[in-house]
Each structure stands twice: as structure tokens, then as C-alpha cells.
């Protein structure tokens, strides 16, 4: 079964994304921040991570910095799903090899799902995002 790790500090967002991905056939785990996500990652590596950016304790960009510093996780497919439309976030995500960035205000859930399948097969794939 395909597995996914949803990282978002908002419990409602985590729950609803987890429910959506479960419905799409994924085995889902969820974490409320980057630190908890690292702990989850150390236990079992998911096929894909869907990552929020603005989170307490360890934000999404800090998480990316740690994850990408490990060779074994250097190619781990990660999709950023953020409420913030900032060039700084885009730039920082790109610097960590994340090409697929979805804005919560304007994306289509079906596009996100397609992107998850795509990056799972090709970690360097770039999805068309809003």
C-alpha cells in the first residue's frame, strides 16, 4: 500500500487531509510539526510527504533542511501545501529540491492527488501547481 505522511499544525487540516488520502487508498500518518515528522520519518519512511510550512517548533523549511542533509532522504518526494503565497517560501523549497508547491487558497484536491502519484514514481517530477 502507498504511504503518505501529512505534516500540518492545524488538527482539522491534518484530519481532513488524512481522511482524504485514506479514501484514496493511502496508508496515512500525520504529524503536527517538523520535529514530530522527523520522529515519524525515523520510524518508517513514507512514499510521499505533504508538508505545511508555517508550523511551531520546527517549520516546514527547517524540516526540509534537516531531511535533505541526510543522503538516504535526499530524494524523498515532498510536496509543500501552504497557506502562504510568498516567493521566499518558493525559493526555500526549491533550494531543498521541492518543485511542487500548492497554495491552500487556490489548488484543486484532484491535482494534489495526481501530484502525489506522480512524485511517488518520479521524485524529481514537477507538478503544475497554482
Amino acid at each position: 500500500m502507498n504511504s503518505i505522511l501529512v505534516v500540518d499544525d492545524d488538527s482539522d487540516s491534518r484530519a481532513i487531509l488524512a481522511k482524504f488520502f485514506r479514501g484514496a487508498g493511502f496508508q496515512v500518518r500525520a504529524a503536527p510539526n517538523g520535529r514530530e515528522a522527523l520522529i515519524a520519518l525515523a520510524g518508517a519512511v513514507p512514499d510521499v510527504i505533504v508538508l505545511d510550512v508555517m508550523m511551531p517548533e520546527m517549520n516546514g523549511i527547517e524540516f526540509l533542511g534537516v531531511v535533505r542533509s541526510y543522503l538516504r532522504w535526499a530524494q524523498l518526494p515532498i510536496i509543500v501545501l501552504t497557506a502562504y503565497d510568498s516567493p521566499d517560501i518558493t525559493e526555500a523549497a526549491h533550494a531543498h529540491g521541492v518543485r511542487s508547491i500548492f497554495r491552500k487558497a487556490s489548488y484543486q484536491l484532484s491535482d494534489l492527488l495526481r501530484c502525489v502519484h506522480r512524485v511517488r514514481q518520479d521524485p524529481e517530477a514537477t507538478c503544475e501547481t497554482c
Binding site: 487540516s13 487531509l17 481522511k19 484514496a24 501545501l81 491552500k104 484536491l109 484532484s110
Partner: protein, 65 residues
């Protein structure tokens, strides 16, 4: 007491209800496209995880009479 407050200058209640029903219809349509229930999808919109309903989506679907 709330009943002592002057009438709101916002939209009349029936217009607000109609608009809310229009929004729900858009959400229902979006939810069906990704095999989710309307209520779950609505929760995602409220949480800010899913995009808000845009006026053009309501217009495309047509208004409820």
C-alpha cells in the same frame, strides 16, 4: 439581548440562506469529484485546507431558485 439590537444592514436572511445553499452546492460538486462527503469537504474549507468557494463557481453552477 440580541433581539434588542437594531436590524442588521447586511443582506436579508433569505438572501444569505440562498447564498449559503449555493456555496454548499459548489462544495458538494467539488467533494463528489474527489469522492469525499460534502460535510468532510466543507470541514476542509472551514479549516482553510481547501480553497474557499469563488463567485464564478457559483455562477457556473447556476443559482438556486
Amino acid at each position: 439581548m440580541i433581539s434588542d439590537l437594531p436590524p442588521s444592514d447586511a443582506q436579508p436572511v433569505d438572501q444569505q440562506l440562498r447564498r449559503f445553499r449555493d456555496i454548499l452546492r459548489v462544495i458538494e460538486r467539488r467533494a463528489a469529484l474527489v469522492n469525499m462527503s460534502r460535510d468532510d469537504y466543507f470541514a476542509g474549507v472551514i479549516a482553510g485546507t481547501f480553497p474557499k468557494v469563488e463567485q464564478h463557481e457559483i455562477d457556473e453552477l447556476g443559482h438556486e431558485n
